[in-house]
Subunit: 209 residues, 3 copies
């Protein structure tokens, strides 16, 4: 595995989602291996879905043992320093956001590398970014992140859109990675800080019950 | 993508499930992108599972951008005309039923095209037909459709069985598509109208608690 | 399909998980086809995930019709003799445990056969062993088995670890299968009998709410 910015981002997203998974699992009082498993599934979920949909198998974590070690080390650190992560919800939010930003971008890039249509690459990016968190929340019996009121999926769709546009403008790839990742993370930070949400659409249900 | 009846049915199922997903998402008060994502996942869920299990990757919606546009347009229309769809539950039921019927048949056909055993093709059809709705309901925190009292999976297994029998009898393919899709939809309509359900089996649990 | 111990174990795990799925579905008062579908998905879930991640498609149950017949027969028997399975929770636990032990080992073996790293083979084994039960519980709206207090995933990680070590020591393959399957099952039985659990890690959440 050569050391490109793509790989660095992939590793960063893996670490961030692993921490978010470990925190969620500790919050549910799972035991040691339960924590490791939730951390693992959260960290590899998005990338695994991306690889399976594309048909790039065995999926990437199977061919790069470094991910497994990394998740193991990060989980142990998250357990040891669990009470330094003072504010659980804030920590969970922060690491989830980093993972979201980074994985969205790796998903878009994978789509473009496979010559998929830009719109489809955006969809692949959104799925790659959100799937780990959704799986974590389903397994931990929480309301999935994509449901909470603040803009979530929207952030990653906008970041993915920026990626596709900058790619068309032939901006330097590494620069695109950094800008678009920061767009996703930035939108989430601003949106949650100021409780911004898109309007929902009211349904007047006239059914009997 | 040539325009065969198979493709027309696939498009019809996609549209129907997208509407059902958009309605379910609006009912949960998701924002614009949340609605789009649930519509998208519901519409492509069954076909994606089918393609992944068969090993036909990248999965079909990735190679046919038309699906993504279609889902986008349908979702916008569902939002605009949301209050014309007067009776939410009835509308949801109707579109879910059309999607179920159509996707069951595309699943069976895919199995037969890949020379899989007829029984396995029926199983593949049932999974393709039900998976989109199951995912929609899990994400929207509803009791999955396959659990509700009225006959659901049974309808699509019977339709798939009819498909396999008619195929053995070498009936014209397009005719098979239409008859079997109507069988699934017809069974669902009758069953829900008259509240028909198969008997459940009572378990006498003699455990302590 | 030649008759090796690997295949016998695979069949045994399929039968055990099918029974556990049928029991869980009857407990939820699903109708005949609902019971069959939950039995089916529980039985093939782990192996399907394993095959999809590895890229071995069409997945194995599609190429071996015997699995489908087996699940059908087992489900019918489970329904007929449902009230002989006196203690539902105990029966469910027993069959789930057998399935867990057997599928963990087939997952590790598949990883090793594909020349994957031992650590990754262990992860693949743990996923293969637990996925069927997790899917069953999610579909039946139960708390997933991996969350219950007693050691669960830990048992299958320890069994998988033993497999990898014995394989390095070049112990006879069939002997490895039997020993490691018994390790997983044995740990589960002892752990549940004596209510042994690993410590959870307490999080002091200092968030506002």
């Amino acid at each position: 595995m050569e050391l490109s910015l793509f790989n660095i981002l992939d590793v960063l997203g893996t670490v961030a989602f692993a921490i978010s998974g470990a925190l969620a699992a500790m919050n549910r009082r799972l035991d040691l291996f339960g924590i490791f498993i939730i951390a693992f599934v959260t960290a590899i979920g998005g990338g695994t879905l991306r690889d399976v949909l594309i048909g790039q198998t065995p999926v990437s974590w199977m061919e790069h043992i470094v991910y497994v070690y990394l998740i193991g080390v990060v989980t142990v650190l998250a357990i040891i320093f669990r009470n330094k992560l003072y504010y659980l919800k804030k920590s969970l939010f922060l690491f989830d956001t980093i993972g979201l930003g980074v994985f969205t971008i790796t998903g878009v890039e994978t789509g473009i590398q496979h010559n998929l249509d830009p719109i489809i690459s955006i969809a692949l990016g959104a799925m790659t970014g959100t799937f780990g968190g959704v799986i974590r929340d389903i397994l931990c019996n929480e309301i999935p992140v994509i449901f909470r009121k603040e803009i979530y999926a929207t952030a990653c769709i906008l970041g993915a859109l920026a990626f596709v546009i900058l790619h068309r403008l032939q901006v330097n790839t590494d620069l695109i990675y950094i800008i678009t990742t920061l767009i996703v993370i930035g939108i989430r930070l601003v949106v949650v800080k100021y409780h911004i949400s898109l309007p929902a659409f009211i349904l007047h249900d006239k059914s009997e019950d």
